[in-house]
C-alpha cells in the first residue's frame, strides 16, 4: 500500500524526536511542539499547478525542514505521514 501525491504535493515521514535530537535539528520553540524535520517518502509529479508550472526540487530519501502548521497528517498501515505542498518545504538538511 502506497501514497502517490498529486501535483506539487510531497509525502513526508516525520523523524522520531530521538533521531532528530541525534541529527541535531529541533525547533527553537516550545519543547512539546513536534520537530518539523522529516524524510521525503514520495514526491508528486509537479506540472501546472493553479496555472503555474512547478518543477519538483526534492527527492525521496532527502531530509527536509517544512513549515509549521502546513500539511495533512494521514496514517497508512500503522505509519503516520504528512502530505505537504513543495512550497511548504523550507530547506534540505545535508
Amino acid at each position: 500500500m502506497k501514497l502517490t501525491p498529486l501535483g506539487d504535493r510531497v509525502v513526508l515521514k516525520q523523524l522520531e524526536a530521538e533521531e532528530v535530537t541525534k541529527g541535531g535539528i529541533i525547533l527553537a520553540t516550545a519543547a512539546q511542539e513536534k520537530p518539523q524535520q522529516a524524510e521525503v517518502v514520495a514526491v508528486g509529479p509537479g506540472g501546472v499547478i493553479d496555472g503555474k508550472e512547478v518543477t519538483m526540487q526534492v527527492k525521496e530519501g532527502q531530509n527536509v525542514i517544512y513549515s509549521k502548521y502546513a500539511g495533512t497528517e494521514v496514517k497508512l498501515d500503522g505509519e503516520e505521514y504528512i502530505i505537504v505542498k513543495q512550497s511548504d518545504i523550507l530547506a534540505i538538511v545535508e
Copy 2:
C-alpha cells in the same frame, strides 16, 4: 440518477470506517473525525477553470485522500457523496 461534476470537481464516496481501518488509513487526529479516504465516483471534464487550464489527474474507482474541511456533502438515492475540487485531493492510495 447520476452526479456529473462541473469543471475541476470530483465526486467522492467516503469509505466506511471499517473498510478504512481494514485498508489501513485513518487520520492521526481525533477518533471521532471521519477518515478522509474516499473512492472517486465521478470526475469533471477539467478545462479552463478560473482562467487556468486544469487537467484531471484522478480516475473513477481510485482510492484517494482529500483535504479536511473541503467539499460539499450531498445525498443521492440514499447514498452520501462528497464533491471536491481536484486540488483538494492530496494523494492516491494504491
Copy 3:
C-alpha cells in the same frame, strides 16, 4: 417578467423539499437546512468575467447542485429564485 443574468451568473429555482426527497438528493447536514438542489431557469451569456473567459456549461432545465451560502435570493411575481455564479454550481444531476 423575466430575469436575465449578467456575465457568468445563473438563475436557479430551488426544488420543493418534497420533490427533492422524491428525487433523492438531500443534504447530509441538519434537516432544517434547505436542499441545494435546483433547476436552472436562466443562464448568463458568459464571456470575459474579471479578465477571464468563462464558457457557460449549464443549460436551462437542468437539475443542479450548488454551493451552500452561495447566491442571492430574489422573489419575482411571487416565485423565489437564487442567482449564483456558474462556479458555485458543483454538479448536474441526471
Copy 4:
C-alpha cells in the same frame, strides 16, 4: 447636476418599495431590508479596470437586481443614488 461614474461603476436609483411590490420583486429575506431592485441612471465608460478590460453590459433605464451590501449611497439634489461596480449587478429584470 449630474453624476458621471468612473470606470466600471454604475449609478442606480432604488425603486420605491411600492413600485417594487407592484413590479413583483422583493428580497426573500427580512421584510425591513430594502429591495435590491433599482433603475440604472448612469453607466461608466468601462475600459481597463485593475488591468482587465471591462465592457459595460447595462444601459440607462434598465431595471436591475444588485448585490446586497454592494455600493455607496449618495444624495444629489435631494435624491438618493447608489453607486456600484457593474460586477455587483446580478441580473436585468425585463
Copy 5:
C-alpha cells in the same frame, strides 16, 4: 508648498459641509459622517501600478465622490487634504 501624488494617487480637498449641502450632495448615512464629496487638487502621473497600466481619468478642479474609509488625511500649511487612489473615486459630479 505642494503635494505631488505618486502613481495612481489623487490629492483631494473636502468640500465644506455648507458647500456640500448647497451643492446638493450629502451621504445618506449618519449626519455626523463627513460628506465624501471633494475637489481634485492634484493628480498623480498614473503609469504601471502594481503591474497594471493605469490611465488617470480625473482632472484638477473636478468635483468628485470618493469611497468611504479610503485615503489618508494630511494637513499642509494649515489646510487638510485627503490622498486616495483613483480607484477610490466613484464618480464625477457635474
Copy 6:
C-alpha cells in the same frame, strides 16, 4: 554604516515633530500620532518585484508622505529609520 534597501524598498528618516510643524504638514488625526512626513535616505534598485516591473519614482533627499502603519522601524548608529515599499509612499512634498 549604511542601509541599502532591496527591491522596491525605500529608507526614510522621519522629520522631527518641530520641523514638521514648521514645514506645515501634520496628520489630521490624534496629536500623539507621529507625523508621516519623512525624508528619503536611500532608494532600492527596483526591478522585478513579485513578478512585476517596478521603476523607482522617488529620490534621496525628497520629502515624502507615507502610509500609516506601513514600514519597519530600525535604529542604525543611534538614528531611527523607517523602511517602506515605494507603494507605501503617497506623495512628494515640494
Copy 7:
C-alpha cells in the same frame, strides 16, 4: 550538517544582541524584542517561485535586516537559524 534552502528562501543567523548594539542597529520598539539584524548563511537558488522568476539579491556573509514575524526558526547542531523568503529581507547593512 548543512541547510540548503529551497527556491527563494534564505537561511539567516541572528546576530547576538551585544554584536548588534556594537554594530549599531536595534529595533526602535520594545527592548525585549529580538533585533532583526542577521547574517546570511545560505541562499536558495531562486528561479520560478509561484509562477514568478525570482533572482537572488543577497549573498552569504551579508548583514541584513529582515521583516518582523517573518521566517521559521530552526536549530541545527546547537545553533539557531531563521529561514525567510528573500522578500522578507528589507535591506543590506554595510
